[in-house]
């Protein structure tokens, strides 16, 4: 169990820790998600799922380029119907641990978002994350919904109507004014915001004279994303009052503290699993506790948003 100092509230949930397994990282099976929870995650997010199964892109699909990671997995998932079973089994494993489950959905049209939400709703996730920001499938789906306030709000409103559980909308960092998008989705009914998804990038191998990822473009995560994510969370916190799952480049307890200080309510962790293994949650949690003690923060609540004071 995480240190009691890490206990905190998020929406109506009492979480053992503010650290959240981010979507797409080992969120593919009940056992892996339960493992993240046992390792100290306070919530876990499943891999984004779409209406129909997706194989994803061919290899290479993910790389460590030195300053962070880049990936274009291509939203590999078994499709919404099969995902319901994965989520149900995951819930059974998470319940005794007191760790809420976040389902994540993805689609190419507003109508399809509705459909996927309706199906996934059957699994009874604690929170539904609406991924309108995946950069790695834009060849298929065009500019992500997260690009404009209107399209972001349209998806949010549609999904909001379909489900009874709270809804978080996951935003993209490559927009001119993320606060406006945040305001639009909150206006449209989002209960929380997840910020941010990966930043579109490209890694080129000069010897080969070509991009390394088979998809050429991929999403940047890890350390290089951290200052971008902190800025996004900071700007969103200034614009809206709903809880924020702050994600991007958090690899240490200090990173987690910075994310909370920027205004995150809880902190997503993804790429750090590659750098530190699944025990990243345990280690980041321990480091965060040490930092809270060093700087005299009595609770997670006390750190949140201090940069805004």
């Amino acid at each position: 169990m995480p240190d009691p100092l890490l206990a905190c509230r998020f929406l109506d949930f009492n979480l053992p820790s503010p650290l959240v397994l981010a979507s797409g990282i080992i969120g593919t099976s009940p056992a892996l998600m339960a493992r993240a929870a046992r390792a100290g995650a306070g919530m876990v997010t499943a891999k984004s799922c779409s209406l129909r199964p997706r194989e994803g892109h061919p290899n290479p699909t993910a790389l460590d380029w030195g300053g962070g990671l880049i990936n274009a997995i291509g939203l590999t998932n078994p499709g919404a119907a099969a995902e319901v079973e994965v989520l149900r089994a995951t819930r059974r494993l998470l319940q005794p641990l007191g760790v809420p489950l976040i389902a994540s959905i993805f689609a190419g049209t507003v109508e399809e978002f509705r459909q996927v939400a309706r199906i996934i709703q059957q699994a009874g996730p604690d929170l539904l994350e609406v991924n309108i920001s995946c950069p790695n499938v834009s060849d298929e789906f065009g500019t992500p919904f997260a690009a404009l306030p209107d399209s972001a709000a349209a998806v949010t409103g549609a999904v909001r109507q379909e489900v009874t559980c709270p809804v978080a909308v996951k935003l993209a960092p490559n927009v001119p004014n993320i606060a406006r998008i945040a305001a639009a989705v909150v206006e449209a009914g989002a209960d929380a915001i997840t910020a941010v998804n990966t930043m579109p990038g490209m890694v080129i191998d000069a010897a080969a004279g070509r991009p390394v990822l088979s998809n050429r473009v991929g999403g940047i995560s890890g350390p290089a994303l951290k200052p971008i994510a902190l800025r996004c969370v900071y700007e969103i916190r200034r614009a809206v009052a709903v809880p924020i799952i702050g994600v991007g480049g958090v690899s240490t307890g200090r990173d987690a503290a910075e994310m909370l200080m920027a205004g995150a309510t809880v902190v997503g962790v993804g790429s750090a699993v590659c750098y530190r293994g699944v025990s990243a949650f345990e280690e980041i949690g321990r480091e965060l506790v040490a930092l809270m003690k060093q700087y005299g923060y009595p609770s997670v609540e006390a750190i949140r948003g201090v940069c805004h004071r």
Binding site: G24, I25, I26, G27, T28, S29, A31, L32, A34, R35, K47, G56, P58, N59, P60, T61, A62, L63, D64, W65, G66, L69, N71, I73, T76, V203, D205, A207, A208, R210, V212, S214, G270, S271, V273, C274, Y275, R276, G277, V278, S279, E283
Partner: protein
């Protein structure tokens, strides 16, 4: 469980230039490259051919880098088509390798290889001998024509026990039959290292458990990212072969992570 402790940042693929190709049997060749890699036996690399794909292969040697590759499909066939001077991009070393007993403890090790799984064991055997351990090797394959690397072990002064399923060479049957005998004959249980098809590994694990011998198994699974993100290499209840393995101290399918 801290990956940085194990092998640092996995980094980008780097081009390695092929220096020598050696045919090992009708479907397997060894590829020797122009550079070294600081790696342990049991660790693997993701090999990239631009425009084709990127696939996992165990290191059969690290100074210089050596891969021993069975031609089974598009990618491995393309590797087989490489000629000296051509380049293959390698990313790694990845994963956790085998752990040898403490240097100087002069223990007896049994290495059990099936198919191209024998390749990393050759790398392991060299390090084990250099560290003063005694190495016994069991090599299995379907037929005699599929047996691998026996001569190289011979050159190291190790006479491998050979088994073939069809009895066309060595003892007829599977490697575990030899292993059972070796374990029974030993005064104290030796440390067992195995690499090969997962069915074989499960059988080796079972035999060792019954004999009370410590075992290290180099597992395999379908890999995409190779660095613990995508979940495609999961085996059992939540093990990631690329991150937690490929070498496990027990059958990962039967023993979930703690």
């Amino acid at each position: 469980m801290n990956r940085k402790d194990v092998c640092g940042s996995s980094g980008l693929p780097r081009p390695f230039r092929l220096v020598e190709v050696r045919r090992e049997n009708r479907s397997v060749c060894s590829f020797f490259f122009d550079q070294e890699m600081p790696a342990r036996p049991g660790q693997f690399v993701m090999a990239w051919l631009p425009g084709l794909s990127e696939k996992p292969f165990s290191l059969a040697g690290a100074s210089p880098v050596r891969l021993t590759v069975a031609a089974v499909g598009a990618f491995s066939q393309a590797v087989h088509a490489l000629r000296p001077g051509d380049r293959l991009w390698l990313r790694g070393p990845l994963g956790r390798g085998f752990t040898l007993p403490p240097e100087g403890s002069r223990q007896k090790l049994v290495l059990v290889g099936g198919g191209y799984g024998t390749a990393p064991l050759l790398f392991l055997a060299r390090q084990a001998q250099a560290a003063g351990h005694t190495v016994e090797v069991v090599i299995g394959a379907k037929t005699g024509a599929d047996l691998l690397l026996g001569e190289e072990f011979e050159q190291m002064g190790i006479s491998p026990h050979l088994t073939t399923e069809d009895g066309s060479a060595g003892r007829a049957g599977v490697v575990t039959a030899v292993l059972v005998d070796l374990l029974a004959a030993a005064d104290s249980p030796p440390a067992v290292y195995a690499c090969g098809p997962t069915g074989m590994l499960a059988a080796v694990d079972e035999v060792c458990r019954q004999a009370g011998a410590a075992v290290q198994l180099a597992w395999e699974a379908y890999m995409r990212c190779g660095i613990g993100l995508c979940g495609s290499c999961e085996v059992g209840e939540g093990w990631l072969v690329c991150l937690d393995g490929p070498v496990f101290g027990q059958n990962p399918v039967l023993n979930p992570p703690g």
